[in-house]
């Protein structure tokens, strides 16, 4: 597992992190975030359940982000 970024920041003078890396693809990132917002922000499944599932999924995938 890499501990260094595999893509540069798309924003001048900003360090690489998920936000500045995704800035390479603004239109796609906007569409992805809209989907994410539709999943998380609305609907009939409560936020507590969604957040529990999100964290469980991250732990199962060893995602420290």
């Amino acid at each position: 597992m890499s501990t260094t970024p595999r893509v540069s920041s798309a924003i001048a003078d900003a360090p690489t992190h998920i936000g500045t890396a995704r800035a390479h693809t603004p239109e796609l990132t906007a569409a992805f975030d809209a989907m994410y917002a539709a999943l998380l922000g609305r609907g009939i499944v409560g936020m507590e359940v969604k957040e529990a599932m999100r964290l469980r999924n991250a732990r199962m995938n060893s995602c420290s982000l």
Binding site: M1, S2, T4, R6, V7, S8, A10, A21, R22, H24, T25, E27, L28, T29, A30, A31, F32, A34, M35, A37, A38, L39, R42, G43, N61, S62
Partner: protein
């Protein structure tokens, strides 16, 4: 059979249960297609991921791949019809599904060499969307 509708149901029928999600889903897939990553590369990797996950709904859908390309997909590592860039992307896509922590810096660099950095970000986003879609189809019994 879809567990939701009580009968065989395709993805559109299942997504129609939640129109706001369906709209966002459609827009996201359109954004992937418009991302600048070669369509052939995207489709090769989408279908290869479906093969690995046994996502039968995706495998049954029409594909833009030529029949001989689709037939050769399981032997992409050695078949001469695949370019070095396609191989880099297919290898990355396979590990994305099977063992994402084992992806090496060298493999990532090969994808960057093939697609550029914006392409690499778009490609990785596409892989995450497709893996979720394949698992969505399987979990909900989409046909």
């Amino acid at each position: 059979m879809s567990w939701l509708l009580g009968a065989p149901a395709d993805r559109d029928a299942v997504l129609a249960l939640r129109p706001e999600l369906a709209a966002a889903h459609t827009a996201l897939h359109e954004a992937i297609r418009a991302s600048g990553v070669p369509t052939e590369t995207l489709e090769l990797c989408r279908i290869r991921m479906a093969q690995l996950l046994d996502a039968r709904a995706a495998l049954a859908e029409p594909t833009s791949l030529a029949p001989e390309r689709a037939a050769a997909l399981g032997r992409w590592a050695t078949d001469p019809s695949f370019t070095d860039g396609e191989r880099a992307c297919l290898g990355f896509a396979e590990l994305f599904v099977l063992d994402h922590h084992s992806i090496t810096d060298e493999q990532a660099a090969a994808v960057v060499a093939a697609l550029g950095e914006p392409g690499f970000v778009a490609f990785t986003t596409a892989l995450s969307v497709w893996e979720n879609q394949h698992r969505f189809d399987i979990a909900l019994g989409v046909t």
